[in-house]
Assembly symmetry: C2
Homo-oligomer: 141 residues x 2
DNA sequence: ATCGGTGTTACAATTTAAGTCACAAGTTAC
DNA sequence: GTAACTTGTGACTTAAATTGTAACACCGAT
């Protein structure tokens, strides 16, 4: 479990909350759907709430989307959850004594940034509504 | 490859080999530029050789690019190095008893694939020659 | 033939995500 | 008001992947 599933779990939470709106959307219930534990779910929900994507209230299990699903993009969720905000990572420890080692970081920063921009542009194109629709279609099938 | 810098190190190796062609391009020398160890460098070089990006010879430190740097893209290097071939990862363990848990994986696979395609398209646009040029410009500055 | 480098494997160390436990504080129902 | 339940957090443990280290057979040049 070294690869992170935080983003996937966060989307899972948002979709679950929206689909089962009015039903049981407690951290325990969601955790059983993710096959994880309530503590992890609450931590993610807390991050989503801080990013203004989810409305939660202490003590009461009645979470709901903070905005219409059409206006929440995958990029919003990614930004709310991902710690490093980077898909690709430059090696931070190269030799300053070597011309290549001294300059490779700046060069790669520029290149990786282009890739990051492309990925984020596509993430911005995916709405939560779209994900939920796809999910509903599969559920009804 | 969440916090891995294998890709960065692989590019470092290719750039180093090309820039110092004719000089000392032993795994030990490259390792000192990366501030890593010769074994790791040899492992990466071996992977690059298997992907036909680098020519190595057992016993002799005379590595060279297998193709002109113009024809090697960042995507080629990424494909040669990255184990999972995925920038984003679906949670593989969700509850089949829940409609959301049962279908979220397939939905996210589709969405993540779009992001992956966008990122890979940009990676394909970046050539090793471009990276080396940028590096040379910084070195000469 | 010797010396140094490669290619590869095995294993230890390190790092980060995920899981677990615990508990203060908020909310509802009675 | 209090009992029962939930959220929000922090501390700590466990697990998985990357990186580091060591060993050694094999290749090649001098």
């Amino acid at each position: 479990m070294k690869y992170s599933h935080k983003l996937s779990d966060a989307i899972h939470i948002l979709a679950f909350v929206d689909i089962f709106q009015g039903g049981d959307v407690s951290s325990t219930m969601i955790a059983s759907s993710i096959e994880s534990n309530p503590s992890l779910v609450r931590r993610l929900m807390s991050q989503l709430a801080k990013a203004d994507l989810l409305i939660t209230r202490p003590g009461v299990s009645a979470a709901s989307l903070a905005r219409p699903a059409e206006t929440i993009s995958l990029l919003d969720v990614y930004r709310a959850i991902d710690d490093s905000q980077q898909l690709l990572h430059v090696d931070p420890k190269t030799s300053m004594a070597c011309p290549v080692g001294r300059n490779i970081q700046a060069t790669l920063d520029g290149v990786y940034d282009r890739v990051q921009q492309a990925a984020e542009a596509e993430m911005a194109n995916v709405s939560l509504a779209e994900i939920i629709q796809d999910l509903q279609a599969k559920i009804n099938a």
